[in-house]
């Protein structure tokens, strides 16, 4: 059964990971722009990063018949300096027409500060102006619930964006219903310690159903697992879920959301 990992940071992973993901059934991935683990010293660092996401990574993934796509933005962890963030944002439009770019992401909030919120709203404006899909990062741990509320409020207050074209990621037990009830798509990230385990993700699927919900690994340079999507499928199977439910959550739902961009494909 093929799967899609709709959120993974392959720039931080080895080529071995691509090989193992392909062996486990991965046919397509999407890679949001994110924090490198340190703050870039100039907007030129982002220019190079956007080239990596649109030129180098698609070629590396193609060696394993995995179709690589990406999202562009300045992430919220580097949005505390609005002047710097706006300089980076001026780089985005020239990359949006590249063949693997699906939209704007992962924008959102990190510590729920005023500057983060300002830059998030400006990204929403850019997405609305250029009619782009949006992938949103919600904050970590103690900041997640408040940040999710602020994000939904900002979208509703400032835009007329269609929630069906927005994925709000990293939902957990206390935010999944909030996101789904407001008409957005929701992503569950499978992390060993700081987000959902495969067991808890399966619990959330049982509580809220499979409509507009997907799973992803968000594998990056930290403690994370690029095979967590197939491991969650094994967990669901072990518990007795049907192949149809498992396929919906790990393949059909990401396919449906991402196919709103004509650039998305599962053909390596």
């Amino acid at each position: 059964m093929p799967y899609i990992d709709p959120h993974i940071h392959m720039v931080s992973r080895t080529t071995d990971d691509y090989a193992r993901m392909a062996q486990a059934g991965c046919v397509a991935i999407t890679e949001p722009a994110f924090w490198a683990g340190y703050d870039r010293s100039s907007p030129k660092g982002f220019y190079d990063y956007f080239r990596q996401l649109t030129e180098y990574e698609p070629a590396r993934a193609a060696q394993f018949n995995i179709r690589h796509h990406c999202w562009l933005c300045i992430n919220p962890k580097e949005a505390e300096d609005p002047g710097f963030a706006r300089e980076v944002m001026t780089l985005i439009p020239e990359f949006l027409d590249r063949p693997n770019v699906l939209g704007i992401g992962e924008i959102g909030l990190n510590k729920n500060s005023k500057n983060e919120l300002t830059i998030f709203e400006e990204h929403l404006g850019l997405a609305q102006q250029l009619d782009q899909l949006i992938l949103i990062h919600t904050p970590h741990l103690e900041d997640k619930l408040k940040g999710t509320r602020l994000i939904i409020d900002a979208i509703k207050r400032n835009t007329n964006l269609d929630p069906g074209r927005i994925l709000i990621d990293h939902v957990e037990e206390h935010t999944a219903k909030l996101v789904l009830d407001n008409g957005f798509w929701a992503g569950m990230t499978l992390y060993p310690d700081t987000k959902c385990t495969p067991q808890r993700a399966a619990d959330i699927i049982e509580m809220y159903g499979t409509e507009r919900l997907w799973i992803n690994s968000a594998g990056d340079w930290g403690i994370s697992d690029p095979l967590s999507v197939p491991k969650c499928r094994v967990e669901m199977k072990r518990r007795g879920h049907t192949d149809e439910t498992i396929e919906t959550i790990s393949y059909r739902n990401p396919l449906t959301f991402l196919s709103q961009s004509s650039k998305f494909s599962t053909h390596g």
């Binding site: 510590k111 500060s113 500057n115 408040k146 518990r239």
Partner: protein
């Protein structure tokens, strides 16, 4: 009729068979962590403002254990909310880039 979207496909005994050992081990990890914390010497700069002068994260963990013992559904959601910053307004400036797992005492 179930209040949830999809019934858990496993029966109660199957849930226990599948998960008991894993969660027995996790419970022992929590017990051992609290024992380790109790055995550890105090920091030179003193305690970090929680209940009874305890580290605020440990104080939040002890309170979460009380939620765990309560009856009723969605314990995971309730503990997540207990570990959350429940203020509503954006903060003036991000003090750091990471997260601590529970809100600082000023926002509880």
């Amino acid at each position: 009729m179930s209040r949830y979207a999809i019934d858990c496909p496993a029966t109660k005994s199957q849930v226990v068979d599948l998960y008991f050992m894993e969660h027995r081990a996790k419970l022992l990890d929590i017990a051992a962590f609290l024992d380790r914390y109790d055995r550890a010497p105090a920091d030179d700069e003193g305690h970090r403002g929680g209940a009874a002068g305890e580290d605020f994260r440990v104080a939040a963990l002890r309170k979460a254990l009380r939620i765990l013992r309560e009856d009723g559904p969605e314990r995971a959601r309730r503990i997540q909310e207990h570990f959350s910053d429940m203020t509503e307004q954006p903060i003036e400036k991000a003090p750091m880039q990471g997260a601590l797992g529970v809100p600082p005492v000023s926002r509880t």
